[in-house]
């Protein structure tokens, strides 16, 4: 469904309103027919956002033949526990998140520690659109056109010291804006981390938008990380702090269940999650219909040629 014309932005290719109108019609007819308290239970529509455009140029080096996951699914099926544990919770409750003013402080082992305003961050480097596969540790995947630039551009700007080995990402944790913080599932704030080489890899994207629009709040607005060769939870959302350290940072999921969520968490079909196999995945919105068989999961989510050298000599079955 893609041409190689970089001027063609994805929002032109996947019109998200076409089928929604039809469905609204069916639904209002149904609501009339039921006319009772059960109607909401029979319809699970999430609220619509009011998106702002974000100009980005498609980077042909980061394309994929996979079919894009619809905007609707990308923005209504999310894991963002700050807004609740259900997949539909973020779309329903993230509207309380204040994405402006917003600053990100970069600190720790860097020559130039700095706190940057979101507007400054948006202008730090040219905005690219990249299409990445996103594989969740739970066994499902999407294909998403993200807008942002390589995290390495920001890291080079602050100049990591020679002693810096790891990068820690800390997400916002504010009870007033995030109803999910009432649950003590995670020791808030959410923390994730990468080894410095992974953070500097050109694939690692500092992300501000998707589908040519500013990130919807449920997707981690206003700025997040996207690391396509690792399970989705490595890609921290709504980041307020980036810290360079010498020690391996303790990640949120790693603290809760180290056997299930290792520090590296590279997508790896050979290493099972204790509760399910990782050999296959279910592609969200698969065009073959809802009973489509699962697809094979690829090593490093198919990004092996760009990342495998970083893990040379490591036993990835042990260092999962």
């Amino acid at each position: 469904m893609f041409t190689n014309d970089p001027k063609r932005l994805s929002q032109e290719i996947t019109p998200k309103t076409v089928f929604e109108n039809r469905r609204e019609l069916i639904k209002s007819a149904a609501a009339g027919a039921f006319g009772c308290a059960l109607a909401p239970w029979f319809s699970r529509e999430a609220m619509a956002a009011n998106p702002q455009k974000l100009a980005a140029t498609l980077n042909p080096a980061f394309m994929t033949k996979d079919e894009l996951t619809s905007y609707k699914y990308v923005t209504t099926y999310n894991n963002f526990y700050e807004f609740g544990t259900d997949k539909s919770d973020p779309a329903a409750y993230a509207h309380t998140l204040q994405t402006r003013p917003w600053t990100v402080s970069i600190e720790g082992l860097v020559k130039k520690p700095v706190t940057l305003d979101i507007d400054a961050l948006l202008k730090l480097a040219p905005m690219e659109e990249r299409i990445y596969r996103m594989r969740c540790v739970e066994g499902w995947s999407m294909v998403i056109p993200w807008d942002g630039y390589s995290l390495s551009k920001l890291l080079n700007y602050v100049q990591p010291l020679g002693s810096a080995k790891y990068v820690e990402f800390i997400s916002l944790a504010d009870k007033k804006q995030m109803p999910g913080l009432g649950d003590n599932i995670i020791d808030w704030p959410y923390r994730e981390g990468l080894r410095l080489d992974g953070a500097m890899n050109p694939l690692t994207l500092l992300t501000f938008g998707l589908y040519g629009e500013m990130l919807p709040k449920q997707n981690g607005a206003p700025v997040r990380i996207v690391v396509p060769w690792k399970y989705g939870f490595k890609s921290a959302k709504s980041i307020v702090k980036i810290r360079l350290t010498e020690e391996m940072p303790k990640t949120s999921w790693g603290r809760i269940a180290p056997r299930e969520y290792g520090f590296y968490s590279n997508v790896n079909p050979l290493v099972d999650h204790p509760r399910w196999s990782q050999a296959t995945e279910r592609r969200i919105g698969d065009s073959k219909g809802i009973f489509a068989p699962k697809i094979k999961t690829e090593m490093f989510n198919g990004y092996g040629d760009q990342v495998v050298s970083m893990y040379a000599g490591m036993d990835l079955k042990k260092l999962y």
Binding site: F19, F42, W140, D183, I185, R275, S277, R282, I290, K294
Partner: protein
């Protein structure tokens, strides 16, 4: 009354069909159907187990009339739950299925619950009840074991993400329902209704 309960009990299935037709089964329809049917199998299990305490409290045998149907609906939703998993997660590969059952405790528990429900469903007829006599009641006490394996299945499924709020509610309900079977508490319940 029975017919009303029958149609009410079909509502969760109607809902899934309806959501399917309106393309509204979430982004992950298979997961949605699996979880929904699993939840309803558990709800009907609780309802089935609630009939005896209700009989004791209300001092009315009327409740027992609905018990079989509710139990069969639990089995019905468990069948869909299991069938979808066998088909779309295991691709009808029985070898792979058994490997999963042995390897993953939460699946072991789910599988045991499902398998144990089968003899109960098969012997749910009046004919079987008469034929088995006293042994029928003994056999159907397996439901207490199923309550435990089913809740463990759900609990361990949620434990990895520490997301235990909902499953705790079911665990409390099932514990209370099972406590009603303790002879001492049984006596208290039926005494209350006699005064």
């Amino acid at each position: 009354m029975k017919i009303i309960i029958f149609f009410l009990a079909l509502l969760p299935l109607d809902r899934l069909i309806w959501l399917g037709l309106t393309d509204d089964l979430s982004a992950n329809p298979i997961e949605f159907i699996t979880r929904s049917t699993g939840t309803w199998a558990l709800v009907f299990l609780c309802l089935t187990l609630a009939m005896t305490p209700l009989r004791l409290i209300g001092n009315s045998v009327a409740w027992i009339r609905y018990r079989r149907m509710l139990g069969l609906f639990s089995f019905f939703y468990a069948c869909i739950h299991f069938g979808i998993w066998l088909w779309l997660d295991q691709d009808f590969d029985l070898g792979a299925m058994f490997k999963d059952v042995v390897k993953r405790p939460f699946i072991t528990m789910g599988f045991i619950s499902f398998v144990l429900l089968i003899p109960l469903a098969l012997t749910s007829t009046h004919w079987a009840q008469k034929k088995l006599g006293r042994r029928w009641a003994q056999l159907h006490r397996i439901i207490y074991l199923i309550a435990c394996t089913a809740i463990l299945h759900y609990w361990w499924h949620k434990a990895g993400k520490n997301d235990l709020d909902t499953v705790s509610i079911y665990a409390v309900i099932l514990t209370l329902l099972l406590c009603c079977r303790i002879p001492y508490i049984r006596k208290i319940l039926s005494k209350r209704s006699n005064t």
